[in-house]
Symmetry: D2
């Protein structure tokens, strides 16, 4: 099939490549002419505007948006004005699923289909394929299915789950029609919420191992500070974290792709000195927390990971000041350096 891709950043460009490798045609647009030219050189049909892009598509048209969440709404709005009833807009970016719900409603009023495709795979997707979590009406999802199949990793990407028989379901190929518009990004949102927690789980555990020699380093003993009661149990200085991550990759219960990446990072830079420890968050982790709270579902692990990111960004400083001030108030304690 022929599909259009708007937004040729890291993700979008590689998705175009993967779609073309599967034999489909891609019409592309980006505000950067260089990005368009690069893909045109690889066989895509480059265009200079959304209008031109739309004209290059046969009806029913399918336009995939791969843009920052902050500008997706505007682009979708523009497209709604250019497309016709029966066309499909697919939002593959990191949109908040609520925006999908609203935009799908706006599209529906014009007879346009709106599909949201939560996309995981990062910089590895070109090679590994993209895990796609899709929301939308059946008709629209059916229409773009060839592209979903092309982008997805395929059945071979993982062993078959015991008990599954018959032809492979879409999920077994790496894409899933989760529900009505927004459902794809909802599932992707939670996926990222889980991701934050798994990342933090490894990070915290490795930190505990890193400090396993705490008993060798005398804590200051003053009226405020308690000594470690049994220092003999904290004598493991210098456990090799890169090797620990590596050994966990084989046969352990906690093997995972994130562990693979962690092992690689620690092997390349054992102390991770090139990082300051300031962990960004991109929205989905926040929204997962909000959803958990609004649904009344406890998500203490997911939310703890999120808050740790906030704190790593410096956002806990004022709370610390308040507590230091309280300590000063009741105990006369000065802050330590």
């Amino acid at each position: 099939m022929r599909i259009a891709m708007v937004g040729l950043g890291r993700m979008g460009a590689n998705m175009v490549r993967r779609i073309m490798r599967a034999g489909h045609e891609c019409v592309v647009f980006d505000r950067s002419p260089e990005a368009v030219a690069a893909l045109a050189a690889e066989g895509a049909r480059g265009t200079g505007s959304l209008e031109e892009l739309v004209l290059a598509l046969p009806a029913p048209r399918a336009v995939w948006l791969m843009l920052p969440a902050a500008v997706t709404g505007q682009a979708a709005e523009s497209l709604f004005g250019l497309l016709e009833a029966g066309d499909v807009v697919i939002d593959g970016g990191n949109s908040y699923y609520r925006d999908d719900v609203d935009r799908a409603q706006a599209a529906r009023e014009r007879g346009i289909h709106y599909v949201d495709a939560g996309t995981s795979g990062g910089v590895w997707g070109l090679e590994r394929g993209y895990c796609l979590m899709v929301g939308g009406d059946d008709e629209a999802v059916k229409l773009v299915e060839p592209v979903l199949v092309a982008l997805a990793p395929g059945i071979g990407a993982a062993g078959r789950t015991p008990g599954r028989t018959g032809g492979p379901s879409p999920a077994e190929q790496g894409w899933l029609h989760c529900g009505p518009p927004g459902a794809g990004h909802f599932v992707k949102m939670v996926h990222n919420g889980i991701e934050y927690a798994i990342m933090a789980a490894y990070a915290e555990g490795l930190s505990v191992i890193r400090e396993a020699g705490a008993g060798r380093h005398r804590r200051e003993a003053d009226a405020e500070t308690a000594p470690l009661r049994e220092p003999q149990y904290y004598q493991y200085d210098g456990i090799d974290l890169a090797e620990v991550a590596e050994v966990w990759r084989r046969g352990s219960v906690i093997g995972s792709w994130l562990l693979d990446l962690t092992a690689a990072a620690l092997h390349a830079d054992p102390r991770l000195d090139r990082f300051a420890g300031r962990v960004s968050d991109s929205g989905e982790g926040r929204w997962t927390g909000v959803a958990a709270i609004e649904e009344g579902v406890p998500a203490p692990v997911l939310t703890a990971a999120l808050y740790s990111r906030f704190a790593s960004q410096g956002a806990a400083a004022f709370a610390g000041k308040v507590q230091s001030a309280q300590r000063k108030g009741f105990g006369g304690h000065e802050e330590k350096d």
Copy 2:
């Protein structure tokens, strides 16, 4: 009665004063001769060594230790060698209750009583009295009861709890015999665990109010960062935190002494600029967490407060580095400043 006080720091010195005000005699010792001289000038009997101190007491002797946890064990051990069967050692410092259990056992083998007295009140205790949580055998607690009564705030420190009748219980006077040796510091330990959480509760809440104008400050919008979806609900710049803390002191459900201190701190320094936000912990919060875990009792609120202190001390940095490295690994993301 006559009692000895060893350790004349902030806490010990004021406790001597409060005991003397109640008409008791105090024999005092500190490794600092100046500290001894200062209290001798106020009517205490100063001594130059533990030996001298013990000689100045009538049998059965009562010696109160008010020392940093790190040196209490040594002092107790020395005293056990100087005292006689029937004497009492009281540990009023911030000891780990497990050390009390062990030391009480060592004392018992010599016929010496061991009492642990968890003491809350901080720099305000001289004026307000000290809340005392006491462990030990009945005989020993009976022996030191006059001093406990002198140190405790007394019945007037709080209104009577509805439903209580008859003569006031010791708890109503501000001291409690909680159980066998160690029970006092166990209850005090949990008291401090609770304290950490209450402090953090106010600190977090005030931080949320402080950022209530987040919708006015444009978040960077790039592929990684999601914009605030409804900025119109975060337009409250500059809510006066000192006034907020003040209004909560009257009639609200969250009135407390810690809130009083918070209100005072914010009134004196609305932005708390004199603090960096590095919150120390003195042991009890840690031990409370350990006890919760070993008992199998969930304490997510108490432990979250503890971990926030650790993070404020910089101990989350490596975990942050690991997560930044993972993000770099799967998404090619560079750390932001």
Copy 3:
């Protein structure tokens, strides 16, 4: 002044009484004629409809809504149709501050003032006064100030914060104009978020003390279960929790009104057998969590308390099933009873 009160439940009725005690006139309405009659018997002017209520007020009219959050919007909407430019609607219920923002906008379009008054004090407010956190424009707040002063606890409700001088600020009297519409309920929302955490802090701490005899109760020792390593440190069966809560009320750092209530509850029913442990939440705690997340402010303590409530309501059951299924999957473990 003369003010109208709509909603004569537990809170509303007592507020009417407190307003009348201060010498003001109250016009009242409730969908329950009995509730209206009861207050009419105490001197209020009862009415049978919102229309009648509005007619009984002099311009500029002030109508205070004290209704469940779920029906406040409808009532406000009805009032907007009955009132005139310059009148004031005050929402004193548990509204989400975002609804205030929206309703204030709707009111503004008709020239009507909208004031939100977060109200703390519960069933004790009649006697203790209500802590009032107020949002709205200056003109409207000025108009209802006499009633705010009447409802608030007054300066005597707490000792003066050190360093404050001059005439008492409104906050020192127990009410505060926090900012524009919604700011009152925003501050009240956070107040409740803090309240949840303080409640949980005491609850968790008391639970840790309650299980301090864990070393006496042999844990089953099988391949899955580890024995308690040092049972000698968990021998404190039967520490009297009511006395512990009582002693903390005097001189300790964690004295508070919530502790007073806890002490009373434990004195009346030491094992709290009349409760099942299912803790309701009324919205504000949720919204505080959402605000923290959307602002990017870590609130691990507040949120942990919220999630514990969710779990107490049974909402963690499915997550438990998933984990039991995982354990079965990798270890063959059957669930224990």
Copy 4:
């Protein structure tokens, strides 16, 4: 080589099989004669007592203990009496690393080597191999290396980490000498702490998806309960969790072996009705929490997972009662069913 295995439960028996498959000889003992007979039928040399077992080994002897943590100490003690200087005891069970530290000290006094081997792999180990985290002195680890190699999954169990060159390190084969005695179980302990958190991360996330239709189910609207403000965003009833877990297995960032198991469990029993949601914990998660606290390293994610397990076991009930009692105290609220 010839090695002895004591303890032929689920884990021990399969480890014997895997060792024998690699061409080594196994001498076995278990308190159950049937377990011994079963392995003898497969080629192991069965024995009827520890004495007999020791006699069947050539010096230097190597005895691997695969016993519940609660009885490992006793068995090690017995072996220390039967073995000679230069022999090696390997503890492969779920021991607390602190017991290893103490037991290694006791062994060292007799010239016996003590090796601790944290073992992950569960019921799948026979087929997949066991991930082995080992502590002990170099000489002893060298001695048992052939068996470690036999048990470990081998280099083929995972792709090579980018950047690694040369001959495979032990970690790349699935076993690691982490440090002195206890270091193996320390690393294994943290491994399990991470495992708890990853399990909980998936469990919480799936729960959030499961309740994505919350907006369709009317929450009761009374004075206490706030309605869901934007129910239109919670309309996703019935997202197929088994398919979601399945799709995440391919190309997503959160692919892992635990996810594979989760997908299998959900496919077999979509509602997981056979489980009640009571999640056991076996010690390591607790000890990880204790280590984090004693080291001063924040581990909010790991600990939140642990506490959720405690709560699933019913251990939060009293804390819930306290909070319900407090709510009754300040608001007159009765508990809801």
